[in-house]
């Protein structure tokens, strides 16, 4: 399959915040590599700096130390080049716009306002046909999240960054959207980084699962997920899927217990 998108190389990144007079180190010595067209899931305990890491890659924030590079471009250059698509746990839709015009917002911002074909395509891809004229307040949580995903994809970005986009949804909707995310990724081949709390979700959709330590966050384990694609729900019931989930879960528990752990690769 033809792969497109930008690779991401994070080397020795640290980020410290001033919080109520205190210095809080959110990330320290973060290293990660996502190949072009790869799908990487980032998992870790609450408050470990996953979201901070993603914001740094998106160019929404700048690291205090270390470098981030996407095939020769810095995150800020990627952002200014409008090559990034983002979706957060809060769908962050404009309540006064419809499904169509919310998706079109991204196109307007990159100067392709009249590309109605791209919008129609995305509406279909995320399964929102018939709801084009609906406002966010008239949609369910899952539908709103689909709009956010469609908006993040409509500009055909080289890098797709998802910060727990399905975190607030029920298990059934979540599984459905995971299937669609996988399908969309397979069709488009955009480099994707997904931040999530859910181990099965990470194992189900990603090529590689990176486990982070508690704050200050760094990568403490890397699991390559070798399941063939397309992955279907039957996979969820297999022993090899459970084994993989167990393995990631074990790394996660180890990481929670101790901060000073060297990089391991149990996979």
């Amino acid at each position: 399959m033809a792969r497109r998108g930008a690779p991401v190389d994070v080397v020795g990144v640290g980020r410290t915040f001033a919080l109520a007079g205190d210095e809080v180190s959110a990330l320290r010595g973060l290293d990660m590599h996502v190949p072009a067209g790869g799908f990487t899931a980032l998992i870790g305990p609450s408050g470990c700096g996953k979201s901070t890491a993603l914001r740094l890659v998106a160019g929404l924030d700048t690291p205090d130390e270390g470098t981030i590079d996407s095939g020769g471009a810095s995150p800020d250059e990627m952002r200014r080049g409008q090559r990034i698509g983002v979706a957060f746990q809060d769908p962050s839709l404009l309540p006064w716009r419809t499904v169509t015009t919310n998706i079109r917002l991204a196109l307007e911002l990159v100067g392709r306002r009249h590309d109605t074909k791209a919008v129609d395509e995305l509406v279909e891809l995320v399964g929102l046909q018939g709801f084009e004229k609906a406002r966010p307040s008239q949609l369910s949580g899952g539908m709103r999240q689909r709009v956010a995903i469609a908006r993040s994809l409509v500009t055909n970005p080289d890098l797709l960054l998802l910060d727990e986009p399905f975190g607030a949804l029920d298990a059934l909707t979540r599984q459905q959207l995971n299937d669609e995310l996988q399908r969309i990724w397979s069709a488009r081949g955009t480099t994707t980084i997904l931040v999530t709390h859910s181990i099965p979700e990470a194992v189900y959709v990603a090529d590689e699962v990176l486990v982070m330590s508690p704050r200050p966050g760094r990568i403490v384990a890397r699991h390559t997920i070798g399941f063939e694609r397309p992955r279907t729900r039957e996979l969820l019931l297999t022993d090899r899927f459970h084994a993989e989930v167990e393995a990631v879960s074990a790394s996660l528990h180890r990481s929670e217990g101790q901060v000073v752990q060297l990089d391991t690769d149990p996979g």
Partner: protein, 540 residues
């Protein structure tokens, strides 16, 4: 999101300003601006405006105050005492009305109509009418002061009672208890933050009521001192009074704000100025009932007022009398031409100031959002000025602008500017961070951020401010006309007042009140339609 990530989000809440001024502490910046303003004021007063009777230099204001401090402090104390009594009675009445409206929902619309009508009364012109009942003493300023706080406190208390969490009310209901228990156990507690937000606005409003009451013939107080100083062109004296009023009114505003924060530290800052209007149920019958019942209640109150106080027919005019004066007696055409001719002038100057104030406020809020260091330098001053009852400083504006038609426009513009600016800016800062992040991730221009985020998020606040500004603008206009310009309906009223022509006075009051109520409801209808169109289902 982790606390650290929260901080990161806050850091990007506004477009990144590269200015070095962004790192100057806000207090330092606004103090510097304050000192610069004082220096410029002194300089202008000593050079360009020297001998013009328009602007007193700050040093002269201080000297004047200390020279006559006995006089000033005596009158300030008197007006403050008046305002305190008005504050007490007005707030008690407002809370009683709000409790009734919450416990007896079908009375709510009618109570709301009465309270709104009171808010729309041209205060300066009803002072002579109130004086008929209360006599020459201090009761009229106290009554006006009380009337001036009823609306804001009522709206705030009602909002507070409604903010009670529905789930908590359901718990009470699930134990088979009724409205009264729910009210005692849940609503009263839930209302405290909103109530304090309302009381905070009520403090300067009470001071305003007291001073306006004193404008029309009290024996003591800052109001009558101002009127005399205006007549004698004592520029320094007028400036001293304006500065003292500002300090006292702002002090009350800040003190109640601090008390509110002390009593409910868990509560976020509430903005009572931006409360949306309640929606009228659809359907022609509901609409008619929604309109007719409140009007009927207002007329009942009008008759009840005349009957309870037993005012002599020479002074007391019923709705029927007012109608006759305007449409059936032989002088009716003449009355109509006087009243509506003057009303036309007032409407023209007022609308101009109203539009200038609102548009200017929105534009300034956008500038503040896009240029953070400017916001940090000027916003504290804007917030302080917002708490001032601008009407109290009317004499100063009259001195500065002169006594022409523009004076009315200037006062109305200033009056609508500050609250709208603060409300719109606050709304813009509450733009969801996720939306700003999405915009930033596409490197959106400032223009695109304004169009897609800041402007739309400030629309509800803008419309709510525009609605509230209708009655306050007319109030400001009539005070300016009464005291200075000699134009418009305010001048018609002051002439009628000096000639004891109570017919014209009542007709003017009635017409002005109706105009203010209609204006308020026109903006409210536009507000509801716009909010419903922008984001269906999100307006109340």
């Amino acid at each position: 999101m982790s606390p650290a990530a929260d901080t990161a989000a806050t850091a990007t809440a506004r477009p990144a300003g590269g200015s070095r001024l962004d790192r100057v502490p806000p207090r330092l910046l606004s103090s510097a601006v304050g000192i610069a303003v004082l220096l410029l004021w002194e300089l202008l007063a000593r050079t360009v405006y020297a001998g013009s009777y328009r602007l007193s230099p700050p040093t002269a204001v201080v000297v004047e105050f200390f020279e006559f401090r006995g006089l000033y402090l005596r009158n300030l104390w008197h007006s403050t005492k008046t305002a305190a009594w008005g504050f007490l009675w007005g707030n008690l009445a407002a809370m009683a009305l709000a409790v009734t409206a919450t416990l007896v929902p079908w009375l709510r619309r009618s109570i709301g109509a009465v309270v709104l009508t009171v808010f729309c009364l041209p205060f300066i012109a009803i002072a002579p009418i109130l004086r008929l009942i209360t006599g020459p003493g201090n009761a009229t300023p106290i009554a006006l002061s009380a009337l001036a706080v009823v609306f804001t406190t009522y709206v705030a208390a009602l909002l507070g009672f409604d903010l009670a969490p529905g789930s908590a009310l359901d718990v009470i209901r699930s134990y088979g208890r009724g409205r009264l228990t729910a009210f005692r156990n849940v609503r009263v507690r839930a209302s405290v933050p909103a109530l304090f937000a309302g009381l905070q606005i009520a403090a300067p409003a009470a001071f305003l009521g007291a001073v306006v009451g004193e404008f029309t013939g009290a024996h003591r107080g800052l109001g009558i001192l101002t009127v005399r100083a205006l007549g004698a062109l004592q520029t320094d004296r007028i400036w001293v009074i304006a500065v003292m009023s500002t300090i006292v009114a702002t002090g009350g505003y800040l003190a109640i704000g601090a008390l509110g924060r002390y009593l409910c530290p868990w509560s976020p800052a509430l903005d009572v100025g931006a409360v949306p209007v309640p929606r009228i149920e659809p359907g022609l019958l509901n609409r008619l009932a929604g309109l007719a019942a409140p009007i009927a209640v207002v007329f009942v109150f009008w008759y009840a007022f005349l009957w309870v106080f037993g005012i002599e027919p020479f002074f007391a005019k019923t709705p029927v009398d007012v109608w006759a004066e305007l449409f059936s007696v032989s002088e009716a055409p003449e009355t109509r031409s006087i009243i509506f001719g003057a009303l036309g002038t007032t409407m023209w100057t007022t609308s101009l100031g109203y539009v200038v104030g609102l548009v200017g406020a929105l534009a300034s809020a956008l500038v503040f959002i896009l240029v953070p260091w400017l916001e940090r330098a000027l916003m504290p001053i804007a917030v302080a000025l917002r708490s001032i009852p601008i009407i109290v400083t009317t004499p100063v504006i009259i001195l500065f602008v002169g006594r022409g038609l523009l004076t009315t426009t200037a006062i109305v513009a200033v009056m609508s500017f500050f609250p709208t600016l603060v409300n719109c800016y606050t709304a813009m800062t509450r733009t969801p961070e996720g939306i700003l992040d999405v915009l930033k991730s596409y490197d959106a221009t400032s223009a695109a951020s304004v169009r897609n985020a800041y402007l739309p998020t400030s629309v509800p606040a803008l419309l709510a401010s525009a609605r509230i500004a209708v009655p306050t603008s007319l109030l400001g206009a009539t005070v300016a006309e009464w005291l200075a310009t000699g134009d418009g309906i305010g001048a018609v009223m002051v002439t009628a007042f000096t000639r004891n022509d109570f017919k014209i006075l009542w007709v003017s009051v009635a017409v002005l009140t109706i105009v203010a109520v209609i204006g308020y409801w026109l903006v409210a209808a536009f507000e509801l339609r716009t909010l419903e169109r922008m984001a269906p289902g999100t307006s109340r």
